[in-house]
Point group: C2
Chain length 105, copies 2
């Protein structure tokens, strides 16, 4: 599996709008092959911060998802209200609660 946790920083006052775009993206992920988790959260310590927590079958599935037409459209729409990016952590999920049964060996 491939895990990616990253922080996005919205332009001041634009966090809710950016979260809206990300939730649209998450909706698109419902039907994307190999997407196990795509959770959008507002950072508690930063009024403009957003955390995105993703788990994929593998890194290739994640990379493919960024090339989908819907994703590209959303990135274009979101770009003007993204101020920057914060921390980014890659990981290898091994198990726990909330992953699909067949994802955990």
């Amino acid at each position: 599996m491939y895990g990616l946790t990253g922080k996005m920083i919205a332009q001041s006052g634009q966090r809710d709008t950016l979260i809206g775009y990300l939730l649209q993206a998450a909706k698109g992920m419902e039907v994307v092959e190999g997407c196990y988790l795509y959770v959008v959260s507002s950072a508690d310590d930063d009024p403009n911060g957003i955390w995105i927590t993703e788990v994929w079958r593998d890194k290739a599935a994640h990379d493919v998802s960024l090339q989908l037409e819907g994703a590209q459209e959303l990135i274009a729409k979101a770009r003007p209200i993204i101020a920057g990016f914060g921390e980014r952590f890659e990981s290898t999920p091994v198990g726990g609660k909330g992953l699909p049964e067949d994802a955990v060996q």
Copy 2:
């Protein structure tokens, strides 16, 4: 909702053992009220690092879980092989893929 992403650092060479304890803890969470996600991942950039990604109905549900007998036993067992803790981020999950239907308003 309440989100918590935190890094635990195992004593050198003890990561797999510590992950085993955390997966046991995750198994206990299956039946804990208000636990939506508890994913255990090995950090890709640190041979001793482990990421724990949790989503709870609210912070109170998370706090209660730490007091459960099983959790206390696991903490006691794991403590000798925990070298320390890394980053810790609290957040408010708002939606996306992988949360229970009824958790997302």
